[in-house]
Amino acid sequence: MILSKEHELMRKNFRNFAETEFTTEIQEQLDREGGFNWDIWKKIAKYGFAGTKIPVEYGGQGGDYLAYALMNEEFARVCPVLAIYANTPNSLGGGPLLQCGNKEQLEKYLTPAAKGEKHIVFALTEPGAGSDPGSMITRATADGDYYVLNGRKCFISGAPIADYAIVYARTNPELKGAKGISMFIVDMHLDGVSCGKPEPKMGINGYPTSDIVFENVRVHKSDLLGPLDKGYAVAMKTLDGGRLGVAAQSLGIAQGALEEAIAYAKERKQFGKPISYNQGVSFMLADMATEIEAARNLIYSAAQAKDMDAKDASTQCSMAKYYASEMANRVCAKAIQIHGGYGFIKDYKVERLYRDARVMTLYEGTSQVQQIVISRSLLK
């Protein structure tokens, strides 16, 4: 796809920022120690990247889905975990607010998230409800001006550093499955809210993931987000956008791995010549580049479909996430293969990219869930 002048300039700027600020030291430290890098977060916030896709009137930058995809791609090309920093407020955190927040809620919660002053995370998954969130058991019971929340969410990205969480809970136990679920904005400092310890993960270390536990948490009814009993549909629509972000992260990871593989293949000599002189190696590079370009076009066109609110945008986002995440795993595996034994050693960046790529086919809907979404739209 040929980008507009503005989008080209955005790509250049995202790349420049990532290459300059996401230093190898920071990346390696985050991978080694986990935690969260507040200095980088402040820089991301300062330039408005936390609000790339959020309207200017709510403190954002007013960019579109294509801008958002370019940011995820270019950031993840240098460091996938730092792409997630900028991604969360733009997608899962800000998405539900943008879709159905009232004026007070938008000003109170979305604006500080867009400016990077507060962290909002998305809490849908439960130990017993992953691919099937409709089976959730977290309960919210009305009590005067409040709802009382009880339950446990798991695998919540950013929970340990969050100020607020968008929490899904069953408000009507009579209704089953997707019906009877509502959305709440929960202040993480309320009595009864606690986080589990950060999960030790295979990759994307440096953005903590944990459980959130709710024990008789009293949430004021002004923090009910959107219509009562109808929160599930909003979750699904928000995930469309988030899936596009994950697709773009996968694309960036694959692009980064390809560049590492090309540089290594040109430099490493065996049998008296660079290994890139062997078709066994150079054809692998050709396949990687071709798959990456296919994913790129799929993602950009899904982004445009979202921007135009096209009917099939949701299916396109699923296709983009499904293809790009699986593609990134194939590309990273090949990048390791081209590095030989060195690719298995942590001193080489492809080792980390390979681990970071793995989660892309899992979170925000597994590849199988994407196949369900895609095939349903074909067969309806």
């Binding site: 503005e6 955005m10 700027n13 420049n16 330039y47 990247f49 790339t52 930058q61 960019g63």
Partner: protein
């Protein structure tokens, strides 16, 4: 208060340098960047804008593609841009270049509170002449090699970087200051800035627009108006293969010192 920043689009010398068969730079095939010192000048202006609300105008003389670079400066926070462009201006040396830019600036109007920022030097021409010559032609004071700038009322306190130290200079407006890279870390663009940068005011000044300026005269601009002419340009010869020194430590040190002295390295 208005701040003018003179920015030049230069070939990216960190990449591959392409040379034509006749020895001149193949500018068309090389990627272009904003001259690094000039980005420091833009940042210095934007910082003053943050502090005082001044209007920041970026100015460049060059061919039409320089527009992209000027738009990037707007996306960083500049208010508007002026491109001085015309066939008549081509082939200018530093005398003619500064003549044209000074003409452009007086056409735009340099008021008593205004400041002009330049980079110390452009990485392609490398003369460091244009800034000081603009100041001379506009008859305003200049401070070169600025590594720190503070504004207090109508005066600026500037730390001038010298080879073996620095000097603090106080200067009143209007004035021209040339900036070194060490002055600051230029800010990035923002998404909002990028979305707005093609909608902001952009003026092109061609020969027709400037011909009545006293500083602009066919005899002082372009190739004809240039007192100097590039007579020949060539690629410096490649260094030969390394040479191993032999002998006792003392002999080798002596030989090394002699050959370095011969090459004016020491």
């Amino acid at each position: 208060m208005r701040i003018y920043v003179c920015v030049k689009q230069v070939p990216d010398t960190s990449g591959k340098v392409a040379v034509n068969a006749n020895g001149t730079l193949d500018r068309a095939s090389m990627a272009t960047i904003t001259n690094p010192d000039d980005l420091a000048a833009v940042e210095a202006a934007l910082k003053l804008k943050d502090e005082t609300g001044a209007q920041v105008t970026v100015v460049s003389m060059g061919p039409p593609p320089a527009e992209g670079m000027l738009r990037e400066c707007i996306a960083m926070g500049a208010d508007d841009a002026v491109l001085i462009s015309g066939r008549e201006f081509g082939g200018s040396d530093t005398f003619a270049t500064s003549q044209i830019i000074a003409g452009g600036l007086s056409n735009l109007g340099v008021g008593p509170e205004d400041i002009i920022f330049c980079g110390r030097q452009a990485i392609d021409g490398d003369t460091a002449q244009v800034g000081p010559q603009i100041a001379e032609k506009l008859n305003i004071p200049q401070v070169t090699y600025a590594a720190e700038i503070h504004k207090n009322g109508n005066t600026l306190t500037v730390k001038r970087l010298l080879e073996d130290g620095y000097m603090t200079v106080e200067v009143s407006t209007p004035c021209l200051i040339t900036c070194v890279k060490e002055l600051n870390q230029p800010r990035y663009m923002t998404v909002k800035g990028i979305l707005e940068c093609y909608k902001k005011p952009f003026t092109v000044l061609d020969y027709e627009a400037l011909k009545d300026e006293p500083l602009i005269d066919p005899t002082t601009i372009g190739l004809k108006g240039s007192p100097t002419n590039i007579f020949r340009s060539f690629t410096p010869p490649q260094k030969g293969a390394g040479k191993m020194l032999q002998g006792s430590n003392e002999e080798m040190v002596k030989e090394l010192a002699e050959s370095l002295a011969k090459k004016h390295v020491i």
